[in-house]
Symmetry: C2
Subunit: 411 residues, 2 copies
């Protein structure tokens, strides 16, 4: 018998029928004798609806009040799921994040978990109850309600799994695992049965929505095995875990995102400390930055380019405006015509042949590379947005192919 | 400068425009320098919507989970009202019932307030903030969320006013006070400027919806002056307070309710303890009973009749079924053709002329009296439902008239 933490996302509890379906799934595990902690998100588009009410009533809603408002979404879900379980004869109890002992920092709307006091959950598990916990939320030491930021329910689940030393953590979502590429773009894309934390971390970083970056980091730090799978089918999904060292470097997946914005600062002073000032301001505005390129200095000037997500465009524009008050630059360009493609796999950067094959493939289809960035786990290229899908297909064929089943690692 | 507790009901915060309107009202008090605690209910029909979801997903939802679910309604309201206040430049902070220090018993869905720990509210008031508190809810010593039962927001407001020693408590609703009769039935009905706790208590007991019975009792016990008034107009409403002793008995109001059900148990054993058994079972099923008549015993048998609200009909039928397993009776009749009218005023029963005038008036219009019950503050008669409105008009004319303005008491 295992202690399992399960997480069901908003699409899995979008209406009462889906909640009944989830209750039926939970019941099977419970009947099999497992100890279960179930983390749920708000129903369907609830969070978006609440957010739009907030922004309609207040031009800049205070973040503490946003948390007070948004936390109700998950609270509704946990109560309804418990009722559905009760109706099926399952003994269950719901807890808000705060009641579950999730203590966070006071950074409203993006709080960090400081500590989880698990005694209450353990007591209910001992009593044979399914413990249903509201995802995405916690409380401060001062009893204020906080939220963990978008996708925070994944973090709640992985953090609870760590604190409870669960056997594993199941992330239920509307896709049945992590794929070698987006199946909507690459029809031959295949499910990856096992992926390492590092690789999953890069994938999340690159915008794969199946598992949040913070949740991956949490799981890695505490050695929580995570199983990403579909709510609506029984088959195995993707296991995220410490994969044993592999002999040869292998490209695990091709990822892409069309929603990027390139920002170029032209004619920045060629002085020490300027780059630091730029990225300090961007960080002050919580702009997430990917790919940075700084040109060779031309006498007293140089250029700095970086890529932000389209989502962060507003913040990036405000940050650049602020930057104009601190340092001088000749011009700023926002380029909205680019997309990003990446290949991901452990040790990629250590084998120069892989970069060569990637660039050749892009050259072959005539996709001009605008920027390049690499880490040990990935190579990303900025290319014209209208070439992105073709590039994904070409790279998938080059590195992954269509036939063979990938069975790296696993424990 | 006063410390004022205000309560806005569900219809006063039914949509974002109404919340903005309430924020504007609150702002005026705040700008005038008053210290304000604002209690709000769930928006419009939110509670009903949540309840119907609960009953659709579970035939008999556990009460702890119902509280978890329902408490979200007020939590949404407090967050949105704070945002609206913030947008108007008012410094405000929202608190759930639990955060406001409202500690209750563990009787889910009908918890009683045990204690209010006001230090957190006082601290925010000192900081010049408007404190917005979720009505209808509290928490147990074990941090479980509880609700106070329907209309509990009135109780929250009056209890906070008592605990904070507020100068007075304003109950904002969609009518502008307590009337001498229902103005929809009696066009000449007038607003009552001052009413005693005892009289208000009887009125609430008789189904006047403007102020909940528990809230009246709370206010009386702690001497909280309550002002019942309309959200949507500026004029004074009705003050509920300790009214100085009056020289002569006066009928203050004529109330009526069409929604009653008469239950008659025929052929109950004429033995000691039988009445006790009957009302024990009704109380176990939480049936609220008004007007009890027990016939003179006829040898081994007697009849018992009582009146319940239509709302409690289901519970009353289940209670009677249970009763059939405990005592024997020949027959039960549910009579759905009756309505109830009452006259209310301090000392009414001490002056027999008043009862005489009431019964004569009913006789004059040919309304047959089926049952009578009296207290020191009221006389109620059960009459055929189709004569109720005519009877209300006749009694209003007999006891209150149309011309004179009532100005009893006041302090």
């Amino acid at each position: 018998m295992s202690l399992i933490v399960q997480k069901y996302g908003g699409s899995s509890v979008a209406d009462l029928d889906k909640i009944r379906f989830v209750a039926e799934k939970v019941k099977k595990y419970w009947q099999a004798g497992h100890k279960l902690v179930v983390v749920v998100s708000a129903m369907g588009k609830t969070t978006d609806t609440l957010l739009s009410m907030a922004h309609s009533i207040c031009s800049s809603p205070p973040e503490r009040e946003l948390d007070m408002l948004l936390a109700t979404g998950e609270q509704v879900s946990v109560a309804l799921l418990c009722m559905a379980l009760f109706d099926k004869g399952v003994s269950a109890i719901s807890l808000t994040g705060g009641q579950a002992g999730i203590i966070t920092t006071g950074m409203h709307t993006k709080a960090k978990i400081v500590h989880i006091e698990v005694s209450r959950i353990l007591r209910y598990l001992e009593e044979g109850k399914v413990v249903v916990v509201a995802g995405f939320q916690g409380k401060t030491a001062n009893e204020d309600i906080t939220t963990l930021g978008r996708g925070g329910s994944d973090t709640t689940a992985c953090a609870l799994a760590a604190a409870l030393r669960a056997d594993f953590c199941e992330i239920y979502t509307d896709v049945n695992g992590v794929y070698t590429a987006d199946p909507r773009v690459v029809p031959g894309a295949r499910k990856i049965p096992y992926i390492s934390y590092d690789e999953m971390s890069e994938m999340a970083n690159l915008g794969a929505k199946v598992l949040q970056l913070r949740a991956v980091d949490f799981s890695q730090r505490y050695g929580v095995r995570v199983h990403v799978r579909s709510t609506f089918c029984e088959e195995e999904g993707t296991w995220v875990e410490e994969v044993s060292a592999m002999e040869d470097v292998k490209v695990k997946a091709v990822t892409h995102t069309r929603e990027v914005m390139k920002v170029v600062l032209l004619g920045v002073p060629n002085q020490p400390g300027v780059a630091a000032s730029i990225f300090k301001v961007l960080s002050d505005f919580s702009v997430f930055i990917d790919m940075i390129i700084q040109s060779e200095g031309r006498g007293t000037e140089k250029d700095v380019a970086f890529v932000v997500t389209k989502e962060d465009e507003g913040k990036a524009r405000r940050a650049v405006a602020r930057l104009g008050e601190i340092i001088s630059f000749r011009e700023v360009k926002f380029d909205d015509s680019m997309g990003k493609i990446s290949i991901v796999g452990a040790g990629i950067a250590s084998d120069p042949r892989i970069a060569y094959r990637m660039f050749s493939t892009l050259a072959r289809i005539g996709a001009n590379i605008d920027m390049i960035s690499t880490s040990n786990l990935r190579i990303s290229c900025l290319i014209p947005r209208d070439r992105v899908e073709e590039a994904v297909r070409a790279l998938h064929e080059e590195f992954i192919g269509e036939g063979e089943v990938i069975l790296n690692g696993g424990s």
